[in-house]
Amino acid sequence: MIKLELRKETSRVMLYSTPIFAVLLTIAASMIMFAILDKDPIKAISIIFMQPLSNTFSITELVVKATPLILIAIGLSMGFRAGVWNIGAEGQFTVGALCGGCIALVFYNVEGFWILPLMCIAGILGGMAWAAIPAWLRTRFNANEILVSLMMSYVAVLLLSALVHGPLRDPDGMNFPESRIFSDSAILPILVEGTRMHIGFIVALLVVVTAWVLLSRHIIGFQVKVLGLSPRAARFGGFIESRVIWACLMVSGGLAGLAGLFEAAGPVGQLVPSLPVGYGFTAIIVAFLGRLNPIGILISGFVMALTYIGGEAAQIQMNLPSAVTGVFQGMLLFFLLGIDVLAKYRFKWFHHHHQKGT
């Protein structure tokens, strides 16, 4: 029989090297998969991992994809450290985009520098409001936030769709389910001319730094960590669980809402039913792949963006099925969690009968 035994202390080297092993194993496993699909594995891997890095435009597209992933994952990682499992970032993302987008649509014929900041605030508040529902139900009735936040995602996506089909539909849009295109005052400034790389990436970098400071130097980060590791020790230390739960859900909801607004006011430029493309869920993988560490999340956000862009390129150039990106991301999380077990535990073999002293 095999028994898993907790290691006394997991070494830091091991902790930080597991994501690299997970990426390598994912590459190996997907090469096998490509071979079975009768595609050239080497070519497929190089398209997915190398091509997006080969020209400037692809790199800026990488940034465009990584920005929402990093923003959302930073927020989620706070909660995950505290044992607050916000799985509904997709919904908070959608509601954030919706609220911010409404501001843009209300002022569509007004010009002003204040419109974008106002949209950002609306986006953050929208995401927070959506996250407040699981937060309240968890702290008031001890309802499981995993289920509530996940279910709320589907509500949010349908809400966006209903509004875009109805009151928010572009009056001049020939009945397409789309809002008006945002005015120039409501579109994020572009960082590199001729690309879609927008100022949201700078915000994401600031958020990474802020989160790093909070987690390593601030009492808030300490509370979050203590609550996640041992709720009873948190009470002994005088930390109030419900306050930390609220804080985590507000931060993750607000950042997801901001990411949603950036998506609507950035690459998309209007509200469309297909705005939520799963960043809220992918960000969960990003958070874990980055070891819930802000710097790690910055890196893993780019790795995950690579699978999006490279996966698309591979679909087009090698005629791979469109599920390839999802399979890739799923394998990555699977291997990461698997290796984590090996890093924290060691296998112990023991014989079924060890008779003693007969």
Binding site: E9, H218, F222, V226, L229, A233, F236, G238, H352, H353
Partner: protein, 514 residues
């Protein structure tokens, strides 16, 4: 006699990293015998029965069932030999019916209808009325215990192990349980009855094996003993004499006035009107068998649960009853809870991070919300050197230290904050004799400097050695504190066994449950 024994243990020894839980235990149970296993908490009772039931394996010694060697690897093996066990804490699913719970717990497959008939038959035979279709969540604690017992009985056990079965029952339920157990014994089933309640054992059991520090002290017929003599066997009569440390009680610092707390845990103990005071310069010891309200008392003192009114707890005249832990610390209270990792310290955090948990306020580790990590590391180093904690560095996780060293670290962390009131639970649990002496010395020195020290412990020798006054907690009530020198071993043993006021306590308990 030993040929006829159903279960025989010979020289059972079990060594844990810090302590020898069982040391050469011999025990023999005949068919139809109700055999008591008596001892204080930590005497090794649960380790012993866990080995009989196959949850743990002994390091040395043999077990025999009906004369055949018996080596259970898991509870399944024990049940196959006809050994059943009813745990103190039930393992039932609230949302399932009685019959479903029973079906989950037995090894054989049976149709639901057969099972229902069997449940009704067995429960009627033994005077344990039980409706198989009831949802467990709607049952009283006593009825839940019946489910566990019936689950065992359905497998026709030849030995039934009962772990502290009466601690959660009303007097009426206890009466029914005893009748059932006697009926079972008459039918030839042996019963191993674990308890520290002396009167119960005297009225129910025909043999008692008394354990102390993992060793069998005596095997006797409890009906021929007095509660007093049993108490003496259980706690030993060789208690250290109280020592005069030249401690002089000063002003009243901590006053607890009529503290009443309903436990949020259904198996927890309610605190009932606890009142005491601790003066600067003295050490008040609170003795008691585990599970008599110590944990609830500690939580109430730390402030994890607010008291009923601000004046229930006062510190140097200031009302603290509703204050949160951080505010209590700011005013000078420090705490060492009973459980080291998971309550007093975080296993996966480093030693220096663990100082932030409880010393951040008094040691100025937080400025405008930002942590001063180097102050924390400096304080951790101070603790490690002052209390001789064996740790590679303060950057190691608390998990990597041995239990005794974690204990020294936590005790040191609180003492070095120079509190005005220090409340310690189990200060020397799992530490070696030398370290225990150091901790005792540190507590006494703290008292000499004018701190009011409260020590809650199950180690009577320890309390006798260091405390200036002494009280016993039993069933959520605290006896009147007395100078340690005025207490006799008999008095303490009887108070711990809940004897003098047992009638009073149980009758009130009964009213609450009805």
């Amino acid at each position: 006699m030993s040929e006829k024994a159903f279960l025989k243990l010979s020289g059972i020894t079990k060594q844990f990293p810090d302590i020898k839980a069982n040391d050469g235990v011999n025990l023999s149970i005949s068919p139809g015998e109700i055999h008591a296993l008596l001892g204080e908490n930590g005497a090794g009772k649960s380790t012993l029965v866990k080995m009989i039931y196959g949850i743990m394996q002994p390091d040395e010694g043999e077990m025999y069932v009906n004369g055949e060697i018996y080596v259970p690897d898991r509870p399944f093996d024990a049940r196959a030999k006809g050994i059943g066990m009813v745990f103190q804490h039930f393992s039932l699913f609230d949302a399932l019916s009685v019959a479903e719970n029973i079906a989950l717990g037995i090894d054989k497959n049976a149709s639901q209808r057969d099972l229902n008939t069997k449940i009704v038959n067995v429960s009627n035979d033994y005077g344990l009325p039980l409706d198989p279709t009831r949802i467990v969540g709607t049952l009283s604690v006593g009825e839940r215990q019946r489910v566990e017992i019936v689950r065992c009985l359905l497998q026709n056990p030849q030995l039934l192990i009962m772990d502290e079965p009466t601690s959660v029952l009303t007097p009426q339920e206890i009466k029914i349980l005893f009748e059932t157990l006697r009926k079972l014994a008459d039918g030839g089933c042996s019963i191993l009855y674990i308890s520290h309640k002396l009167e119960e054992i005297r009225s129910l059991c025909s043999t008692a094996t008394v354990l102390r520090d993992g060793k069998v002290v005596k095997t006797c017929d409890p009906r021929l003993e007095t509660a007093r003599s049993l108490a003496e066997m259980m706690i030993g009569s060789s208690l250290a004499l109280p020592q005069d440390h030249g401690l002089i009680a000063g002003d009243e610092r901590l006053v607890v006035d009529n503290l009443t707390v309903r436990s949020e845990d259904p198996f927890g103990v309610d605190l009932q009107g606890i009142s005491f005071n601790v003066h600067g310069g003295e050490i008040l010891g609170i003795a008691g068998v585990a599970g008599n309200g110590q944990i609830q008392l500690m939580k109430a003192l730390i402030g994890e649960h607010p008291a009923e009114s601000p004046t229930t707890i006062t510190l140097d005249g200031e009302p603290m009853g509703l204050a949160k832990p951080t505010e209590r610390r700011k005013h000078g209270m420090c705490f060492v809870p009973e459980e080291r990792l998971g309550h007093g310290a975080i296993a996966d955090m480093t030693l220096w991070e663990n100082t932030i948990l409880s010393a951040r306020t008094r040691k100025g580790m937080v400025k405008r919300g930002f942590l001063n990590n180097s102050t924390a590391a400096g304080f951790a180093k101070e603790i490690v050197s002052a209390f001789n904690v064996k740790a590679g560095s303060v950057n190691h996780a608390a998990r990597s230290l041995s239990g005794g060293n974690v204990q020294k670290f936590i005790v040191g962390r609180e003492i070095l904050q120079s509190p005005s009131v220090l409340i310690v639970s189990q200060p020397t649990w799992g530490v070696d004799a030398g370290a225990a002496a150091d901790i005792h010395m540190a507590l006494q020195n703290l008292a000499k400097e004018g701190t009011a020290v409260l020590v809650i412990s199950q180690d009577l020798d320890e309390l006798m050695a260091i405390s200036t006054r002494f009280a016993v907690i039993s069933g959520g009530r605290l006896s009147q504190p007395k100078p340690t020198g005025d207490m006799t071993v008999e008095e303490i043993g009887l108070l711990m066994g809940g004897v003098p006021s047992s009638a009073e306590i149980t009758s009130e308990h009964g009213e609450q449950c009805d």
